[in-house]
């Protein structure tokens, strides 16, 4: 029997990332994952952009539970997006969007 797919939601703060488009941000994340783990590794992450706030430089991505360490390392390795120096920090991580927002409120 197939195992249930477990996912995690990561709330991200993009430092000095105000004004960056969601497409640019997602491309940068995919680029970082691919550079570190290759296309094979990237295919195992199940990375999806759920929410992105251009004004605040804040985003939420969904990844497979098994790929959380890979995505964390890839996010930490991002130093610039489109030539603009930025840093991406994981603010919080949760199993559901509801719990993620609750955690962010706290």
């Amino acid at each position: 029997m197939l195992k249930r797919v477990k996912r995690r939601y990561l709330a991200l703060e993009i430092e000095r990332g105000e004004g960056l488009g969601s497409r640019e941000f997602l491309d940068a994340v995919w680029g970082a994952v691919t550079r570190l783990y290759g296309e094979y590794g990237a295919s195992k992450t199940g990375l999806t952009l759920i929410d992105y706030d251009v004004e605040r430089g804040f985003g939420v991505v969904r990844v497979l539970l098994s790929a959380v360490p890979m995505v964390r390392a890839s996010l930490a390795s991002i130093t610039s997006i489109n030539g603009k120096p930025v840093a991406v920090h994981v603010v919080t991580i949760s199993g559901t969007l509801k719990a993620l927002h609750k955690s962010l409120k706290n």
């Binding site: 390392a73 930490a76 920090h89």
Partner: protein
């Protein structure tokens, strides 16, 4: 219990108070409680106290650190005599095999550091690890090159680090993961540092210890040694007098 985190290599310019304050504030915001800043080896106690005073308001414990880059083992011994009683953390940047061997067996050395890009200059092999395991020296890994390098150079660096960390683990040499950055945007949270350490196969538990228990242990040990009345580990002078 909440873990305390330490970054033993924050490359702030100690002559620029604003730069130090800015970086220490950022470190505090990222979750660090202990931060070490490298001082010039001729820095006096008043300079260290001035910088420490800046960090008190931010709630970060500043540790004085000195980086030695000796060319010969004799120069290393001479400089260790000079700096050991004045700084809390002594790091030796090993640029030759003779210096690396001497630094590994000297109990006054806290951390061994190897040049990032000179792959022939990374002397942390089995013999070095065996010497370090008998002394007190740990291996310091800076994450800065992992962030700034790309392509084949980073691949080679990761390969070297993976081998060194495995050798360190085999001989029980403590590994410390530090940032080594002078730019605020390259500073990362402790959890992110541990994630980056996973790139060179440092297990999760050891990676967390490399940014918390291991560096904090080094600072605690050295502070105890530098305190007045220290005789030997576990023994200190409590009172002096004729009736003692």
């Amino acid at each position: 219990m909440k873990r305390n985190f330490a970054d033993l290599h924050l490359c702030a310019d100690v002559r620029d108070s604003e730069c130090v304050l800015r970086m220490v504030k950022k470190a505090s915001r990222l979750g660090y409680r202990v931060v070490a800043v490298p001082f010039p080896s001729n820095a006096g106690a008043e300079m260290v106290e001035r910088v420490r005073g800046l960090c008190v308001d931010v709630g970060v414990d500043l540790v004085s650190r000195v980086d030695l880059k000796p060319r010969t083992p004799n120069e290393l011994l001479h400089r260790l005599r000079d700096v050991r009683r004045r700084f809390e953390v002594v790091v030796v940047v090993c640029e030759s095999k003779a210096v690396a061997r001497q630094a590994a067996k000297d109990r006054r050395v806290d951390l061994l550091c190897f040049p990032g890009l000179d792959f022939r200059g990374r002397f942390f092999d089995l013999a070095e690890a065996e010497l370090a395991s008998k002394g007190l020296a740990g291996l310091e890994v800076d994450v800065k090159p992992l962030l700034t390098l790309e392509g084949p150079v980073r691949v080679r660096l990761l390969s070297s680090l993976r081998r060194e960390v495995a050798v360190a683990g085999k001989f029980g040499v403590p590994v410390v993961v530090s940032s080594g950055v002078s730019d605020e945007l390259l500073m990362r949270k402790p959890r992110e540092m541990a994630s980056l350490a996973s790139l060179f196969d440092l297990p999760d538990a050891r990676a967390f210890e490399a940014v918390s228990r291991v560096p904090l242990g080094i600072v605690k040990r050295n502070r105890a040694k530098l305190r007045a009345g220290f005789v030997a580990p576990g023994i200190r002078v409590v009172r002096r007098g004729r009736d003692c």
